[in-house]
Symmetry: C2
Subunit: 191 residues, 2 copies
DNA sequence: AAATTTGTAGAGTGTTTAGTCAGTCTAATG
DNA sequence: CATTAGACTGACTAAACACTCTACAAATTT
């Protein structure tokens, strides 16, 4: 494993446990099994490391969701696919997800260009817009829909992490809560 | 205004802007218009200050919600009252709410006894349990219901903060999203 | 094989930090 | 008025910190 990756893994672990400023670069280097100077060879400053780690981690999550979310081609199916895969990823990458949460509520967030951070949402946004036009989804602002969806994902993840369910039970809860979510945002067919 | 309060206000402002470890105690004292030593007269360590500030802030929010949430005496009315007042408080106390969020995703959270933090939820929990028994609310674990409700509150707050709506528009969105939430968790009456 | 670039090391540096301490000020009490 | 106790001060300190620098090793290019 190359040293850059070792540094990432060590930083991730320590940041989640002690916070950004609570973790000295020397500890990161030590945990990574790397000299102090080596860390600064790869990342000019500690802030650069933090931001690079966030982009890398968020990118991995986005890629996973993009690659594992096609169940069926309906809007509901695609949305469900993204909901499930985001939560599966979060359950399998607890440290990474906690790090993302921590970063997002930290003052570091302002240092990231938000456009680049959210371009992965574009396909989803287009689908939601189409869903509104086709009267599948309630006529709400797309931003608001995204907010409702993603906050339920974040909240549910915390619920799953704080409880010790079996894999099967977890999957069932994830699926059930998606149905609740869908019920909330979709329009009932006129009968 | 007494110095303890001045220190709280200065710390709140700086923590939200620069993070916990990004804010030196000397800056807090300076911003509060107080000598360095005074800070340590009130709070033995910086950690003590952070934790005391969190308990104080969370307490204020809980009290506000408890005192301003009675609309009508039905389960739906009480829940709506809490939903509305939590969001109104968050809109009027943006710094405080951001601080709570930041604290909750930080490693400091583990330093707080969770029972004492959540006892204010007990009345709500009892009502939800009764709601389930009375077949007003879907038969879901109470923890899960709480998670869904509170994550929607947190998410919606971010949505409102990131957009610049008028007060009236804000209130309308808050009310509308409560209806969505209620639709999601309530049982339809059998017709 | 020589030259050059790139990766790695770890001791060293100047600064910043949380927390201390010795003592002053204020206001209440006897 | 004298005494006392708690609030308050800010200079001080020991430790910790982000980052630098010099040196050497390994890989890559010429």
């Amino acid at each position: 494993m190359d040293k850059r990756t070792q540094i990432f893994e060590a930083a991730l672990k320590l940041f989640v446990e002690f916070g950004f400023h609570g973790t000295p670069t020397s500890k990161i280097a030590q945990e990574a099994g790397v000299a102090n100077g080596t860390l600064f060879h790869y990342f000019p400053t500690k802030d650069d490391l933090i931001i690079a780690l966030f982009k890398d981690t968020k990118g991995k999550m986005n890629n996973y969701v993009a690659d594992n979310s096609v169940i069926e081609n309906s809007l509901k199916g695609i949305l469900k696919g993204q909901y499930l895969s985001a939560l599966y990823w979060a359950m399998d990458n607890k440290l990474e997800f906690r790090f993302i949460e921590q970063f997002k509520t930290s003052p570091y967030l302002t240092k990231i260009v938000s456009e680049e951070m959210e371009k992965h949402l574009n396909p989803l946004i287009e689908m939601l817009q189409k869903g509104v036009i086709d009267r599948i989804i309630k006529d709400l602002p797309i931003d608001l829909l995204l907010t409702i969806i993603s906050s339920q994902i974040y909240g549910l993840n915390n619920y799953l992490v704080n409880n010790d369910f079996s894999k099967a039970k977890q999957h069932q809860i994830i699926s059930d809560t998606f149905d609740l979510l869908w019920e909330m945002i979709s329009l009932k067919a006129v009968e």
